[in-house]
């Protein structure tokens, strides 16, 4: 049975380092990109019981491409590099970046009036996401200074800017 237990911190560091040293990945990392996922995985169905692999998900903001890099943590080798036809969820770093951008936005500051933002941040899919070629990657920062007040800061993570700040009515407009 493959070892799919959560990765230890040193395993995560090793997986990120080994993936970054691979020739197929190095070119992507030289562009604007980011590691957004590191999790345990199995290389395939027929691996030995003591196998230990990690999948490293890398997002390239310039091309809107996701890479899945599978690292053998025992042999300390990259075993596979494939383009993934999905967007991985936001990394903690991306959430933090989105919230920092929202904090700096005048509309958000005006709404908060000095109150704590209490942000909740998700991967977002705006209706206009397809306007760019290649499409951009977005986050939405829920700005929740109280239990009854909310705004939604739409952050373009590709261009690193807040592109909209919406009220609750935006969610229910037909």
């Amino acid at each position: 049975m493959p070892n799919l237990a959560p990765l230890e911190a040193e395993e995560i560091d090793l997986a990120v380092r080994l993936s970054s040293e691979d020739d197929r990945v190095r070119g992507v990392l030289q562009r604007r990109s980011r590691t957004v996922l590191v999790e345990p995985t199995a290389l395939d169905r027929k691996e030995p019981d003591d196998a230990r692999h990690a999948v490293v998900g890398i997002y390239n903001y310039e091309t809107n491409q996701s890479l899945a890099v599978v690292v053998d943590l025992r042999a300390q080798e990259v075993r596979a590099v494939e383009e993934a036809p999905v967007q991985f969820q936001l990394s903690r770093e991306e959430k933090r970046e989105a919230e920092e951008l929202a904090t700096g936005d005048e509309r958000v500051r005006g709404f908060l009036q000095g109150r704590d933002m209490r942000p909740l941040t998700r991967l977002f899919f705006p209706a206009t996401a397809g306007k760019d070629d290649p499409p951009h990657r977005y986050a939405v920062v829920f700005v929740l200074p109280s239990d009854t007040e909310r705004r939604f800061a739409v952050v373009d993570l590709t261009d690193r800017q807040v592109v909209d700040v919406l009220g609750p009515e935006a969610l229910t407009v037909e």
Partner: protein
């Protein structure tokens, strides 16, 4: 990874702070049945075209195991976004081979006036033959005879009959071992059968797309290459599409093992 051996099951599960509750290998009566299973994310779609994904993460990183009549539950709360966006996840196993996974959507989310839909994908990498020899079948017309028919290729299969019937099954034709699958009433459920691929497995950690799960161009359609789902390794994605009208609601398929 934690192992529970109880009620004829050997269930491996894992959870950690900021992860979901996932199953690893699970055996029933000593035979491998589940290779892996999870709910990778939840896609929330508001009527204004405002769509996002909720990650399924437990802040405590722990799950409760609860004894019930003829079986047991494993339960976790996905509370990463706080009380207004709470989900619970329950895996249930009975000693007669029935099992299933339910997501309870507590909501209300941003709005409690039925303005959004939860699209919840359940990924099941089953293994009823133990040797890459599973075949996916569906119940077919005419009713009420509803014979089983092979589904030759990957793709989406909607239930033809009321969801309370077992509309789908994964079968090992050599032994007759099978996993019967039914949707939950109200799920508007659909199932996708895929031939196992490493890439799909690697990216099952929350990889999504801009359209709701089940839509063209989204998961799991992006993994559909018209490959055979007969006598091979099959991965099933069951997708529930549930409105928020019920305030608190649950979704997820039920499965029943036969021939083990």
């Amino acid at each position: 990874m934690t192992l529970i051996s109880q009620s004829n099951w050997d269930v491996n599960y894992f959870i950690s702070p900021n992860s979901d509750l996932r199953l690893g290998n699970c055996d029933y009566n000593g035979t491998r049945v589940i290779y892996a299973a999870s709910v990778p994310f939840i896609y929330v779609n508001y009527s204004g075209g405002f769509a996002f994904t909720d990650v399924v993460e437990s802040s405590s990183g722990s799950a409760d195991v609860r004894d019930i009549a003829n079986g047991f539950d494993i339960r976790a709360a996905y509370d990463f976004y706080g009380s207004s966006y709470l989900y619970e996840h329950i895996w249930r196993f009975y000693d007669d081979g029935q099992f299933g996974s339910t997501i309870i959507v507590h909501g209300p989310g941003v709005d409690h006036n039925d303005n959004h839909i939860y699209h919840v994908p359940f990924r099941y990498d089953l293994d009823v033959s133990g040797a890459s020899g599973d075949s996916f079948q569906r119940r077919f017309l005419p009713f009420p005879f509803a014979p089983w028919a092979n589904v030759p290729q990957e793709g989406r299969v909607l239930p033809l009959f009321p969801p309370t019937l077992f509309n789908w099954r994964l079968l090992d034709t050599a032994t007759g071992k099978r996993a019967m699958i039914r949707a939950r009433e109200g799920d508007n459920g659909e199932i996708w059968a895929l031939q196992y691929s490493s890439l799909e497995a690697w990216t099952s950690w929350g990889g999504g797309q801009s359209a709701p799960p089940g839509s063209p161009g989204s998961v799991p359609a992006v993994y559909d290459n018209n490959q055979s789902v007969q006598n091979t390794d099959v991965v099933l994605w069951y997708i529930a599409h549930i409105p928020s009208a019920n305030l608190i609601t649950g979704c997820g398929p039920s499965l029943k093992l036969l021939g083990f």
